[in-house]
Symmetry: C2
């Protein structure tokens, strides 16, 4: 680092009540970690003064209304420092939100802090969004919070661009992020920082806790880059606070952020991990171990806290928070409320749009204008169909925006209606994001936008979903209805070869709890998939689409595509009980249908089950599932251009699975289909063998 390190002990102290508040954060942390016998005390102790100053003097947040849409967002990207956040939530007196409503209960009680990291507590090891009021995003996996905060800052500007009117500032919230050495080492934070600089997000402030201590030891072991220079390269304003206990300097740095226009700000704070623990501070030992009784004694002595009281909040501390963040926040919120009431009178259309958007409510009949695709010999790739449907939706639903990781011409995700410009520095209200070749950053940024209630989406090739699994997982854990459009979904990629042909990605996405994965078979199933996606309020979705053209099935002849909503449905059936069931997803449904027709012409009764979503199918009752896949019909063929993992469940123990057992290859698709056995003939063959075998057994 290019700033001098402060040495423990030589720091300027606040006097009086502010210092007491700061030390209360430290002692609550110490006691909670000690009692849980696990957790991270070091960062909260080192950062207590920084976070206190931010919350108490700067953060525009009304503890009485944690749902206020224009509140500043605070992100603790180093989520392991959760006790810092829980202490602040408790001491600020943030009210608890339940079922979407603010209650009179405390979000985090002292009792909750005593139950830090215990079962069913609101104080889990890492902060969890929607689980604990006041937590704006789930963090812990490093770098993610940084990425989220960029999405939030984009959302603030986007909302402002759309809804602010002369004399009416409805949205202008700032986003503050505390991040650690680990966050800044992670590539996802680099990607997000580069894009934040590009977009000139001057409402974004990262406070970098440079404590130089990581689990393996001093950051000298692996991380001695010049962070300031790197961030200047990204186009950020960079400033230093050389002593994390110097509240005056912290205040000045935060002021500097608010005065800096046209670029985000990085405040590098030199801190001492575990500040206040005489023997352990500044060492990696205090990163994630309880201090132990002896050291706690010494620490409390140093901090001037009584030895005999655990979880002690001295008189005046809560009052101080109340008169600080509490009164500031309440006044700001009240002024906003008043303004918004006037705004709603003058701009009722916009105001009701905002209210609907915040609740993820859909206008009535929103889906009525979605395209219906006629059966046609002129076939269409599902990515193409997706582009048409998504554009139709974006016309109806104002809060839909997103983009691709530099692949929009391929993923067909560009929103093309009039006025739907690129979202750039000068056009923050644009609806087309250019994420750049930064899939991981895209995932984290989309989550941040989703956390501000936008129906945000990302897009890339399915293979590159591997680059962004952590934010996809976190969206599922947060129950956040964002979505991703993953095209080029199989060996259908053709000549680009195995590096670009997904094999295991479908299975891997299906394995994420709470993520709805959909792989529609044709253009009309794409429309139905979007209906499902936009109806979700608590689940993210992954829409898996083909690069190559696929036939549009005749839905007069075969069952309607609306069956998609149930995950799997009988698309074609013979007269009487089927002799064999053919199950396909996406581009392979056409193989099943072709095989069905061939078998029919030979007098064999087959059934085609289109199975676009395992997740949705598993939510159906057993009766429905058994109707689609009757347990006693064991002659089955499942076809999917992906790993066979998991297909045994639907193919059954004696069923055939036509899938990928290796990586793909580089060649024109027609050659690959032959090489890997994805032809109607192969399906017919397998079906006949199945009928034979299951007769025999």
């Amino acid at each position: 680092m290019d700033a001098p390190r402060s040495t423990p002990g030589d720091t300027a102290h606040q006097t009086g009540i502010d210092q007491l508040c700061i030390n209360t954060i430290r002692t609550l942390t110490i006691d909670a970690v000690q009692k849980a016998n696990s957790g991270h005390a070091g960062a909260p102790m080192g950062l207590a003064a920084v976070a206190y100053t931010l919350w108490q003097e700067v953060l525009r947040y009304d503890p009485a209304d944690p749902l206020w849409p224009n509140r500043d967002r605070f992100v603790l990207s180093c989520g392991h420092a959760s006790m810092l956040l829980y202490s602040l939530i408790h001491l600020s007196g943030i009210r608890r939100v339940k079922d979407g409503k603010v209650t009179s209960a405390e979000a985090v009680t002292l009792d909750d802090i005593e139950h830090f990291r215990q079962i069913d507590s609101v104080t889990p090891g890492h902060p969890e969004y929607s689980h604990t009021t006041g937590v704006e995003t789930t963090t812990g996996p490093l770098g993610q919070g940084c990425g989220n905060s960029v999405g939030m800052a984009i959302a603030s500007r986007w909302l402002g661009a759309h809804y602010n009117k002369p004399g009416h500032t409805v949205f202008d919230f700032n986003v503050y992020t505390i991040c650690s050495d680990g966050d800044l080492m992670e590539g996802v934070a680099s990607e997000a920082a580069s894009l934040a600089g590009h977009l000139g997000l001057d409402n974004l402030c990262w406070i970098y806790d440079s404590n130089t201590v990581t689990i393996e030891g001093h950051t000298e072991l692996a991380f001695d880059e010049n962070v300031a220079e790197r961030f200047r390269g990204y186009g950020w304003h960079v400033t230093h606070v050389t002593d994390a206990n110097d509240c005056e300097r912290i205040r000045a740095a935060l002021e500097e952020f608010r005065e800096t226009k046209g670029r985000p700000t990085l405040i590098i704070v030199n801190s001492v991990i575990g500040y206040g623990a005489p023997d352990l501070q500044g060492t990696s030992k205090i990163h994630s171990d309880p201090l132990g009784a002896e050291e706690i004694k010494k620490t409390k002595a140093f901090l001037g806290f009584p030895q005999d009281k655990d979880f002690y909040v001295p008189d005046g501390v809560r009052e101080r928070f109340h008169s600080g963040i509490g009164q500031r926040g309440a006044a700001a919120r009240a002024a906003w409320d008043k303004n918004f009431r006037n705004y709603a009178r003058e701009y009722s259309h916009q105001a009701s749009q905002i209210e609907r958007g915040l609740k993820h409510e859909l206008p009535e009949n929103w889906a009525s204008t979605l395209p219906v695709f006629k059966p046609d010999t002129k076939s269409i790739a599902t990515r193409e169909a997706s582009g048409k449907v998504l554009n139709a939706i974006a016309e109806e639903l104002p809060w839909v925006l997103g983009g691709a990781a530099d692949l929009a011409p391929s993923t067909k995700t560009k929103l093309t209606s009039e006025g739907m410009t690129a979202l750039e520095k000068a056009t923050p209200g644009g609806r087309n994001m250019h994420f750049g070749i930064r899939e991981h950053g895209m995932g984290a940024i989309v989550n941040g936008m989703g956390l501000c209630h936008l129906r945000a989406f990302g897009a890339t090739f399915l293979i590159f979903s591997d680059y962004m699994r952590p934010p996809i997982r976190l969206a599922a854990l947060m129950r956040l209805p964002v979505f991703h459009v993953f095209t080029h979904d199989s060996i259908g990629v053709g000549e680009d070869g195995p590096t670009h042909q997904p094999v295991e990605q479908l299975a891997s996405l299906r394995a994420i709890p709470g993520l709805v994965t959909l792989r529609p078979a044709d253009a009309n199933e794409v429309r139905e998939a979007y209906k499902v996606i936009f109806s979700l309020k608590d689940e993210p979705a992954a829409l898996i689409l083909s690069r190559q053209a696929l036939p549009i099935f005749d839905r007069g002849k075969y069952a309607p595509a609306s069956g998609l909503a149930r995950g799997a449905y009988i698309m074609a059936d013979g007269d009487g009980e089927p002799q064999v069931i053919l199950i396909g997803t996406g581009s392979e449904v056409q193989l099943c249908v072709a095989a069905f027709e061939e078998l029919k012409s030979r007098g064999i009764r087959a059934r085609v089950v289109s199975m676009p979503s395992w997740d949705l199918f598993e939510k159906q009752d057993k009766t429905y599932r058994d109707t689609v896949l009757p347990p006693h019909i064991t002659a089955r063929v499942a076809v999917e251009q992906g790993s066979t993992i998991g297909w045994d469940r639907y193919a059954g123990p004696s069923g055939a699975i036509i899938g990928m057992h290796t990586f793909g290859a580089s060649a024109p698709l027609k050659d690959l289909l032959k090489k890997f056995g994805f032809t109607p003939d192969k399906v017919v063959e397998a079906a006949l063998r199945q009928i034979e075998q299951n007769k025999a057994s």
Copy 2:
């Protein structure tokens, strides 16, 4: 960018034969892409002069011996520019390696180039290591090659530190990487660059093709950071070449790299994508579309090539390569050979170690000193056992090195024997890497080390395998025997909560073709797992270990742990045919064993199958598989603290699967086991229900 852009047409041209060589690269590319009707011509055209100068004048590479261990490594990180590499391989006359031996055949023939991107060709869409001689690593997913190159540069210095002797330089190869805008946007490249700067890798040179054109358009849309400043922040030397056709300046920049000590070099080259195509150059249209007949005509006219000859290599071109890279390389290799013969006489131990290492050969009885763990009430986490076994192996096998993404104290992967220091700038021969909190970079770097024949490993928590899936996948695609140690493998993580508790990661890793995933049940299975891992020559492995202590089973009473090698084995069995089979992996085997004992005490015949590796089990013949899991015994219980996806295959359609259906939670482990149903009682219950049900049916 902070350098002026060169405009098309005003570039200095080489005269004579060198220009002819450069333009041959361009025309071969154009013709190949046109014939394949797919592929990327733009980058090879823009970079032809840069790559030519590098190969012809600088790269120390003997086309007659592509296996020469001290050859410079060339990495094309922007793998979509594959025709650049194939052209160079062809024109340089690199010989083909088959079955580990250099043959007299050409690695890439003109016919191969005519079959660019066709089935079974050696010229796939993106370069594939081991598939095409001369390709040093598989690239295409952006940023990966950058990461690999850092690993290669580390390997060069590591080998040099261990084997070079006064008067004998055995290893000192340089690593050159061509990378694109997209590579430098990816977080994995940022992580790798930061570590390369930290380690002061002055044998590493990245040539950044700043052509400012990506798929969505000009880089202004998403990427306008100051790359030079950012890399200076990382500790790199940065230099500029403002015209990608200015061979003299390219030469000077490469010379500057070789003279720069103590830091890696980034050469920023301003290029014109599709240089030479009058109407398309400098546009995103030429990134990935064939030029079309008309534009090809104009381009060949501009380049002075005949219109009527496709895939045309003018007289003198091959000869020029031969007298350049060919003769330089041959001389360097001959000198090295001579030196190595002398070295081998003087340092026979070292020389034979090198020869064995290059072939991944293991010393005889290498595994004889591995620890055997006695059954004990004092249980031990499998991560702890792993630390002991890995250390014993590292004593025996000199080329074993690796480290963690800042988690070594937790993953227990530190090599602690005397002399096994940290691998740092001043100690490049250390055996403990400090990767920093950079999982993705770690994965790519480990691959690079593995490509130089080191038995390299990475380590982190299993949850963070999500951050590094792309390099894990590429290791499998490259058939590279590297491995990763993934600890904290389940809700066993406890208080850290759902952000840190893997649920879907096991299923996701199992879905990667060619990756061997192992989850041993106890300390002795850990030893056996390592025996398997080090015997692999063509497959990477993922070793999945517990955070929490697990019992060490009495292998007198239960079957020996050596059964692990077959993926699954009968660990405990009753007398006579079992009434129910209990299948477990890792920490859940203890539940199966406890249930087995309980059932036994009730007179019920159960079988315990320990199933540490699906991958290994699937490689066994049917007879063995049916012995372990007889198809007619359908009463089964599978237990694993992970997603149930895929378990139907082994549990069967009527079997019970005790797994995770949601994310985990933050609490002490004992509470989680109860909450999620992982207790011996639950296994017994399920077993009894299974026996009952399967009797009834």
